[in-house]
């Protein structure tokens, strides 16, 4: 049997508003159905249980929004990316929006950093927040296997903070490499009870040279 020629299309999209309450598994299913509805020539795996080849660069956690997220989808034909972006976008719910599509420049594993806007509901000032996060940042980090206290400060590339009405806007750039991903919620955990709530929006994904991942 001749191997099937596949074309990987990279879709840049946003997950906003109420979509932040949707888990990654549910997001995957939603995107899958949108792709089917889009009418694009989708590639299906050739096994017993055919499925799409759909890969997300770095899914945001529940309760977080993303202004910049990427997924790759394998197609059977080389299509016009702009038309594909339009087709997928019209098949997505309102809170999920495609910004653009293109053929990939880099691999997902070249992802190194991600930037965030974190709107903290707190009585702390920007200066205090910056001060607290300047030294060691020891938090309890949970993984599937274990729970340990680690210093996450090496995973914070940079951060700025700004006073705003009702709190502080924190803008960190955090490690997002496949083997060293830091969930921004740990910063909130570290700040403790003084933060009553936090709206987190991921703003960009970067490669090692701090160029937007494309």
């Amino acid at each position: 049997m001749q191997p099937i020629v596949k074309y990987t299309l990279r879709v840049c999209w946003q997950k906003k508003g109420n979509a932040k309450y949707i888990s990654h598994l549910d997001t995957q299913r939603t995107v899958t159905r949108a792709l089917v509805r889009s009418g694009l020539p989708l590639y299906y795996s050739q096994g017993y249980n055919p499925h799409l080849k759909l890969v997300f660069a770095l899914p945001v956690s529940m309760y977080q929004e993303a202004l910049y997220d990427l997924f790759d989808i394998d197609l059977l034909e080389r299509v016009d990316p702009a038309a594909a972006a339009e087709a997928i976008n019209s098949a997505l719910p309102e809170d999920m929006t495609v910004i653009s599509a293109a053929y990939p420049v880099k691999k997902f594993k070249e992802l190194v950093f991600a930037s965030y806007d974190m709107r903290l509901d707190t009585a702390l000032s920007a200066a205090e927040v910056t001060e607290m996060l300047a030294g060691e940042v020891r938090v309890e980090k949970k993984s599937k296997k274990k729970c340990q206290v680690v210093d996450i400060s090496p995973m914070i590339k940079s951060l700025t903070a700004e006073d705003t009405e009702g709190g502080v806007i924190l803008r960190p750039v955090l490690s997002a490499a496949p083997d060293a991903y830091l969930n921004p919620k740990y910063l909130v955990d570290f700040l403790g009870d003084k933060v009553k709530g936090c709206d987190t929006v991921r703003t960009m994904l970067f490669d090692g040279d701090m160029e937007p991942l494309k």
Binding site: N18, A19, I22, R33, P50, A91
Partner: protein, 616 residues
């Protein structure tokens, strides 16, 4: 909807995606541009309600009117309810996020008796007075429909108007009337009086019930001359032209039936004597394969689902099944869409096409012999012989199936211990059949025996018969357990206490409204969920309100007794049901409607089988 006011709550509850709306396909209208706002309330979780086809159909019919916006509302899970009550957030609709108490109409669907507490609890959560008598035109009109509305009495004190039968057109009619009265600013009482004149609409407050010293109903009559004594159900006559939604919200989160549902036909040619749906959904009305194929294609294009579930009672009785499957398989295979055929009869045609149509990934098949012996199957008019059961199982094994699930019932009328033992014997025979055949090496068989308890339902031949007591049902369940000696048979059975409560409400009258209100006051809800059902609470509730639940569940009603639901006309006559009840006791079967018309009462009211030569 805008979720700002509940943002902090959503961060604390499980599966917040149930409470935010915003799914693909959600219908948003300009609320200032409509005359009437309806909240379609499903008294169970989002996952269950979003799987319900009836709700989709009816919302679609209502939303087809540009002067009306019908939104969705589901029962919040208890973690969400706690948060809502603590923060003072009333029940709201998913599309606009607006409070239900500000809607014109809240429409509840009653799918099963154990959701009654949820309906009342949702009213309480919405901040709407629970009892109809406490409400006026400043509150939403509370209406209800669905299968349980055929005996509306237990919910009579809470609901303003019940819609009996199929609501596609009747509901629109009711809304039109409400719009008129709202515009004219006329009082609620006047509206209710007028609503009672629409076919299929039942306004319980316009009727008076008296009871005899023995507790039985002595009289039931309408309070006014212009209010009909009997309420006739409404139903569609032509399914091909029936409204059918092909475009609807695609849930973000996983729901119970997260797939396309294609309604193939309504009604059932069988006359199983325990089955309420088989009676109240009469007459049989089929859609044509062409229409179904077109609807399926359209649904696929608009939803992107990869499974079509065909929906009907007893799907293998659809006269166009082969043609339909051929048409569907012509394109679904290519699109990688699975078909699923639920409710197959074991004696049905089980050919290549059928096998092809069934989900290849599932190794099991489910059949429902319902009773363990031929005698008892004749009593319930299942019209399946043991040979047919064995042939069906053999065909399934020959095609490589190794897991069979069999549904049975306990507590059927005239049931003896031999009938119970017969279930074990039958299951064992099926296991032996598997091992008598040439089979794949190393592959064992699993026969799952799932036994429920009979709940005698209104509008069935068994409506007069008392349910076995909880103790008797438990004894029978244990007896069967002792009869099963192999681990190749997996035995499950239903909680008899749950079935008892179902029977109380299924055969109850309006005095039970007090028990429902009291149960809700004590925190009962989600009674159909194991984690919330509490038999002891219910026992205390009945005691507190002075009601003997056995009076409704376990007592056999006299044939000439006035039944709580006698004012509802489901199309099938009481004479037919009684005839069938007597035939049951005589262990005599009645042929299906295609073989011979049994004059159930619908033969001159739109039944087409009768005209097609089934008549005699």
């Amino acid at each position: 909807m805008n979720t700002d006011r509940i943002k902090h709550i959503l961060a604390r509850v499980e599966k917040p995606g149930r409470y935010t709306g915003g799914e693909y396909g959600e219908l948003i209208k300009d609320k200032n541009a409509v005359d009437l706002r309806v909240a379609f309330c499903f008294p169970d979780t989002y996952e269950i309600g979003m799987s319900n086809l009836g709700m989709k159909i009816l919302r679609d019919c209502l939303n087809a009117k540009d002067w009306l916006w019908c939104e969705r509302c589901f029962a919040p899970w208890d973690d969400m309810e706690r948060e809502m009550r603590r923060e003072g957030v009333p029940l709201y609709a998913l599309e606009s996020g607006d409070d239900i108490k500000d809607f014109d109409i809240a429409a509840f669907t009653l799918q099963y008796e154990l959701c009654y507490t949820n309906v009342v609890n949702m009213l309480s959560l919405a901040g709407i007075p629970l009892f109809a008598a406490e409400r006026d035109e400043s509150h939403p009109l509370i209406i209800a429909g669905g299968a349980c509305a055929y005996n509306p009495e237990p919910m009579a004190d809470f609901v303003d108007v019940f819609s009996i039968g199929e609501g596609e057109y009747a509901l629109v009619e009711l809304c039109k009337l409400y719009r008129e009265y709202k515009k004219a600013g006329r009082p609620r009482a006047e509206f209710l009086r007028a609503a009672a004149k629409i076919k299929g609409m039942y306004v319980p407050s316009l009727y008076e019930v008296s009871y005899g010293e023995d507790g039985r109903i002595s009289d039931f009559r309408s309070k006014y001359e212009d209010v009909p004594e009997r309420i006739e159900k409404t139903f569609l006559t032509d399914m091909d032209s029936a409204p059918f939604p092909t475009c609807y919200e695609i849930p973000y989160i996983d729901t119970v039936h997260d797939r396309m549902v294609l309604e193939v036909f309504r009604g059932c040619i069988r006359g199983c004597r325990f089955c309420q749906a088989g009676i109240i959904c009469r007459p049989v009305r089929e859609k044509s394969p062409e229409v179904l194929d077109r609807q399926a294609r359209e649904m696929y294009k608009r939803t992107g689902y990869n499974e079509i579930s065909m929906c009907s009672l007893s799907i293998s009785d659809y006269s166009g099944l082969e043609g339909l499957l051929e048409r569907l398989l012509g394109w679904t295979e290519k699109e990688r869409i699975n078909l699923s055929l639920p409710s197959m009869r074991i004696d049905s045609f089980y050919g290549e096409l059928m096998e092809k149509a069934m989900n290849v990934r599932q190794s099991g098949l489910t059949f429902a012999p319902e009773a363990g012996t031929q005698r008892l199957r004749d009593v319930i008019n299942k019209n399946i012989s043991e040979d047919e059961i064995m042939a069906g199982c053999a065909a399934a094994f020959d095609r490589g199936r190794t897991a069979l699930k069999l549904y049975f019932m306990n507590g059927l009328p005239t049931e003896t211990d031999d009938d119970i033992r017969g279930i074990a014997t039958l299951a064992q025979k099926i296991v032996d059949l598997y091992y008598s055949k040439k089979r794949q090496k190393g592959k064992g068989v699993t026969v799952t025996v799932s036994v429920s308890c009979l709940v005698p339902k209104p509008f069935t031949p068994f409506q007069w018969m008392g349910q076995d007591t909880v103790d008797e049902l438990k004894r029978k369940q244990l007896l069967l357990k002792e009869c099963i000696t192999t681990r190749k048979i997996v035995y499950n059975y239903h909680d008899s206490e749950v079935s008892f409560l179902e029977a109380v409400f299924a055969r109850g009258d309006r005095r039970l409204s007090a028990a429902i209100a009291e149960a809700v006051r004590r925190g009962q809800r989600f009674d159909s969920w194991d984690e919330f059902f509490s038999y002891s609470t219910w026992t205390q509730v009945f005691e507190a309100v002075g009601i003997d639940p056995a009076f409704y569940a376990n007592r056999s009603f006299d044939y000439d007794e006035r039944l709580p639901w006698d004012h509802i006309d489901c199309g099938v006559t009481k004479e037919f049901l009684r005839r069938e009840a007597e035939l049951a006791v005589a262990e005599t079967t009645t042929p299906d409607c295609r073989s011979r018309c049994s004059a159930c009462g619908l033969q001159d009211k739109g039944c087409t089988l009768w005209k097609k030569g089934g008549a005699n």
